[in-house]
Amino acid sequence: MVARFMISPKLTGTILDDTFGTPTENYASTDIYVGLGINFDEEAFEFTKEPVSKGFTIVPAPCIFSEPANGIIRNTNAIKWPKATQDWTGIGETINYIGLYYRFDGTTAGNYTYELVAVLPLMPPESVLANETMVLNPNAIQLRLSNR
């Protein structure tokens, strides 16, 4: 169980190279898209189980974050998912993670691919059943960097 905000190894390397070394990756956009996860493999840095199916809960609109203060940013708007038309979690199962993604244009219009760039725990974990609606309030996502 991951209990902290984690940036993917790939993005971590990109940030370090961009600042201290030689920039190599040139992201066209760093807009963040939010999705949910049930099980997470820290080693592989990927969700091994997501509600319904892979990428199902990724919200189409980017998440808006506040300007940073003291190394912290927060989502400024509520993030609301459509009402569930089926159970997102099984018996005794909970959504444990929030995933933050970069989005890339696919080969056809409106077709996107996503890269998981960061994960943080959903506190408290939530179960979502059919006809329920999942909402993250403003400030629910807090990204804090610290190496102290």
Binding site: G13, D18, T19, L100, L145, N147, R148
Partner: protein, 146 residues
């Protein structure tokens, strides 16, 4: 509270550039290592380290170029030998010691805002004729605790 490591100004910059409010840096940064001088018995502002890096050593002191390699497994290290000029006069004295180093994006010592501050394993004294050399891989930077 000590705030060694990446400084808040840089952490804010990361959050801005990589989480939707800006663009990643795509320009190569020339970076320099500065020596931080502390005075025995005086308080150090650990929020900004301003006094540490404003009170640069004397004489011919100047910040030394540091070159980092490619990050590996979440860590980036200096690839070059970081060599400071040989002191033309004493850089430290009985009460002023070098206890930390800072990484800056300018050689201009009037810019005292470091991207990173790291403590030295032990304080250093530099008197006339001496120098400081930091071997490759001495400086290891990560976004999380090493």
């Amino acid at each position: 509270m000590a705030k060694f490591g990446l400084q808040t100004i840089y952490l804010n910059d990361i959050l801005t550039r990589y989480f939707g409010n800006g663009k990643p840096n795509t320009n190569y940064n020339e970076l320099y290592v500065g020596l931080g001088l502390t005075q025995e018995g005086s308080d150090v502002n650990m929020e900004t380290f301003n006094e540490v890096f404003a009170g640069q050593p004397l004489g011919n002191y100047q910040r030394a170029r540091v070159i980092f390699g490619k990050s590996n497994d979440g860590v980036i290290t200096n690839s070059n030998e970081i060599v400071f000029t040989t002191a033309s006069e004493d850089w430290t004295d009985a009460t002023h010691k070098i206890e930390m180093i800072g990484i800056f994006n300018t050689q201009d010592y009037e810019n005292v805002t470091p991207l990173v501050v790291l403590p030295l394993p032990k304080y250093e004294s530099i008197i006339k004729g001496e120098t400081i050399v930091l071997a490759p891989d001495t400086i290891q930077l990560s976004l999380t605790d090493l």
